[in-house]
Symmetry: C2
Subunit: 424 residues, 2 copies
Amino acid sequence: MNQTAKKTIPVDIEGICKAALEASRAMVTIDTETKNRALHKMADALVVGQNKIFQANGLDLSEGKKNGLSLAMLDRLKLDEKRISDIATGLLRIADLPDPVGEVTSMKTRPNGIRVGRMRMPLGVIGIIYESRPNVTADTSALCLKSGNAVILRGGSEAIHSNKLISSMLMDSASEAGIPENTIQIIPVTDRTVVSDLLSMDRYIDLVIPRGGYELIRFVIENSTIPVIKHDKGVCHVYVHSDADINMATRIAVNAKIQRPGVCNAMETLLVHEDIASSFLPKVAAALEGGGVELRGCQRTLSILNNIKAAHEQDWEEEYLDLVLSIKVVESIENAMDHISTHGSGHTEAIVTSGFRPAQKFVARVDSSAVMVNTSTRFNDGGQFGLGAEIGISTQKLHARGPMGLEELTSHKFIVFGDGHIRQ
Amino acid sequence: MNQTAKKTIPVDIEGICKAALEASRAMVTIDTETKNRALHKMADALVVGQNKIFQANGLDLSEGKKNGLSLAMLDRLKLDEKRISDIATGLLRIADLPDPVGEVTSMKTRPNGIRVGRMRMPLGVIGIIYESRPNVTADTSALCLKSGNAVILRGGSEAIHSNKLISSMLMDSASEAGIPENTIQIIPVTDRTVVSDLLSMDRYIDLVIPRGGYELIRFVIENSTIPVIKHDKGVCHVYVHSDADINMATRIAVNAKIQRPGVCNAMETLLVHEDIASSFLPKVAAALEGGGVELRGCQRTLSILNNIKAAHEQDWEEEYLDLVLSIKVVESIENAMDHISTHGSGHTEAIVTSGFRPAQKFVARVDSSAVMVNTSTRFNDGGQFGLGAEIGISTQKLHARGPMGLEELTSHKFIVFGDGHIRQ
């Protein structure tokens, strides 16, 4: 038999993709009320079924312990009443957001009399490849559903029991409300060849979003024939200009570093103009060290702050995600911007200044997903920006940059109205 | 020597990419006046230097003859005074378009007082891989320059002499006007390993646009780690509903098929509601056959039009780009929409109807880059839609769909203004 050597694929990836495409076509005709009713039923189902979820989650946790997951990882994995309630509240908040589908965002009459507009449409089928907590399963399903898309979920192996149960509860309750079958699907296995197969399905899938570490993102970028929007690391900077209000700069630096150090919009490097360094650095260092932050400075920083470590070249590109901060003294705003474009990741950068011209220059030239004046980098967030909810923060420039909300999960089409017009 | 077996790359692709990235960073600060002055100088340079261009073009033409290019291909390749003048006029028209860079497209105040807006920014570095006429070299360079991007051109081997000369004339005259060096670069060789190398440079290039046949587009999609916007084929439909004005439907069908049959927004399949088929088909067939169109019909069409060929299954997915048309009789608007979603390429579809409800239904449900009521499909075009000029028509949903003008060659960044705001 010639076929015995063929690779056995444990799940029918193409079948899943075809079913998703079919569901996405049916979703185009589903009205807002039905989608919102589904989101309410989904929230209810998770709360009502929470004991079953705790059981499945218990399996993940005990396997995690066996596999030697860290306590921090186990804590991220764990679902309890509070977390289920937070997830359910998140779904209700998405129900409250305006439906982007069908919105006509422009309509103009051309000289020949045809009217040309743009209408928002769902992207179609979205693949989410993630490693994170099981709440991502519910959040992303709800965002995709509200924006009229079908979703194929592929979560990490550490949460497979929780993810499978949550996604099937969500799909069951959504379909009771009238959402097409297969609008929410999960890949029930977690080996990587399945991901490769999924990434080649550009005939069916319109967008893949990888959420996870560097290795996962590179794997997706290198193997996908489907368009990818990556949610990459944040090496965020605060630059304190020579004319900054020292109290404001200290408050912003402390908030940007300490308020939640493990997230992508936290500051990782503080850049300080040389004219303000000797007055500002001792003050901010005391505040940061009081908050438990380990400081690593350039040579000029070390000449002002004597009890801190030296920063090495690799510190300038490190996403610590921890209570660690690198500090560099720069000669000018141009030096600061050069440092950011050389070492930054294009995520979030802030300037603290009292001057009009430095603020204008920084905003015009720095090319990151969010560029801020006199605020903490921690504001780069879908909720804070008024997008409602976010599926992540895009660090690439195509399609969506910065926080991605419901509108960023849609495309548009041109719509044209005539009265028998032909082209001359 | 261990290194003798290493692959020799004839050009330094990474060097070209690095230079483009540097140029793109400098381009962010170039004002509109400088860019427009450059476009005028570029137009002048092509006209003044046209004899040199004719010489380089002559080399391409004689090599093309030797290599057995068809007369149609040789004609597309050939540059004469009229074509140079058209290219120059195109550059001046791009100079007249508004500059998208720096436009703030929204600005709202959040409840906590921070102001959050979006500002248009260039994408950065754009790679264009094309097989078409040498005018693409000038058009795409001008569009990228006006939108503040650096461009790396990789044209087809058949036009390499023309493309190299034109791109260097453009860069030289642009730099006289103050545009950074290396804003326009061409890959001076045309072998495919160089394209593979280029497609792996996601550290430097923000977007790749392949313009050409199916094989080129698949190669790019399968090998690129850079985001791709594909400009794929157009299998465009006109659907004539039961209540259509037969004269209008005939006029639109003839225009959509005949006015310029070799382009992507020409009609390839005519769908006709069964209730209007016997009155409409003889009339439209006479008009189309009078224009030299070969008709291929489904069984029901053949029962009405007896002297035409039968359409085979593959006809429904064929982009003829020629005076050939497939015709199908359908039972309902739903059948027509199903046919379009099954066999279409998502490019352009039109309905001819006098009814409100069928028009609404068709516009809401059909998911193509342009969906039209009572107009010819030939209007799906950047110029006709008021975008000014276009770099192509995107057939994917991410970032840009339909005609891509200057705005579609930009990204945005969030800009945030505060007064010492920190996150609670």
